[in-house]
Symmetry: C2
Subunit: 242 residues, 2 copies
Amino acid sequence: MVLRPAGALKEPDVSERVVAAAFELFAADGYEATTVEAITQRAGVARRTFFRYFRSKDDVIFPDHEELLGRALDRLAELDDRPPVAAVCAATALVFEHYVGTPDRSLERYRLTRAVPALRAREIASVHSYHRAFTRYLTERFAGADRAEAALWAEAALRAEVAAGAVIAAHNQVLREWLRHGGDERGRDALEAAFGYVCRTFEKAPRKGRTQEAVVVVVRTDDSADAVATRIRRLLGEASAN
Amino acid sequence: MVLRPAGALKEPDVSERVVAAAFELFAADGYEATTVEAITQRAGVARRTFFRYFRSKDDVIFPDHEELLGRALDRLAELDDRPPVAAVCAATALVFEHYVGTPDRSLERYRLTRAVPALRAREIASVHSYHRAFTRYLTERFAGADRAEAALWAEAALRAEVAAGAVIAAHNQVLREWLRHGGDERGRDALEAAFGYVCRTFEKAPRKGRTQEAVVVVVRTDDSADAVATRIRRLLGEASAN
């Protein structure tokens, strides 16, 4: 893992060992029947060690949630030159890569979250934290220089929440299909196609209160370029050249 | 309430009385300190009666969830003549009306769900059940006659999940703003504007794999109408006149 110091990789990582042991036991004995004691015994760690890394048995299922969210937000911060929705798609793709990179664990987690309602609820709540974070990012990007104006900020916040919801829905749809098909090869292509659809939908979406129309401009060869530019701006409802 | 037989309204409704008592106690003593016993005592009902209507104390917070979801789906079934995303917006507006129609309870619930993480998690999970139901509806509508073709069904499912996510995000954003501002008058207008934005974004959204471009067709006065129609269909990438 990129964020872990290289030295730490030489020693088998304790929390990794706990997670692996827990998933083996969940698969063999079921989630309910597996105790924290059984997990620590199999992983060869003390109970105290377990609770240094995890708050509960549930926590073992989503050990990377905080780190993944952090990495996605770091990635977003690097992508300010991309269109806003495309940047959020690229950050979300990191999450997908994480699942695809550990297919066995992802499939076992999928099975568990479908079987145990409390885990399902936790998973849904973790999706929600992405939605909140992406909405914050997109609101800033959409509002841009207008952030001081309350009405424009409110409009940006709405567009941000809607677009973040759309990106996450696309990701979840592709991820779920990938999991349903047992983690096959086509996952990345499907995600790219899905994000392409979302970007086209939102980057070209009409601004609030405008309808999208095609306008044919007939230009006389003796018009000045400035006069044509002024007419086009007026046609597009823009007050200034920017 | 429309769905309750008129006769039942004369007797104070038992579950209503329990909910009202519970919310009074939550507000006065806090959620954690309020017991089921205290609620039944205040409502003047037996403990057994409480558990006929509610599975737990948490359940009292969202007593209308199932009924509301059912009403939203009934509404959807009546709206098959509207564009699909507009139909989902209209069904979602029922949920908003429910909150706006009982502002005191909505505000108290908002305060509670923000203060008690378990309630917050339940609320998020209930949002998820709308997302699932709306995705199913939209997939059918988007796929239309193509539902037998797996690739087209998959494309419809993706568009459905994304659009459902967008409608719900718009609703939640407006609802949250309404709650934050103490349930003021502008809620309905804000919802209408938000849904207008979502409908414009999705009903005009480009289909997957296509880019949106304007095409200027120059027609000769001696072209036949059929020849022009054929050219236009080819330009739009359509194989037949449908």
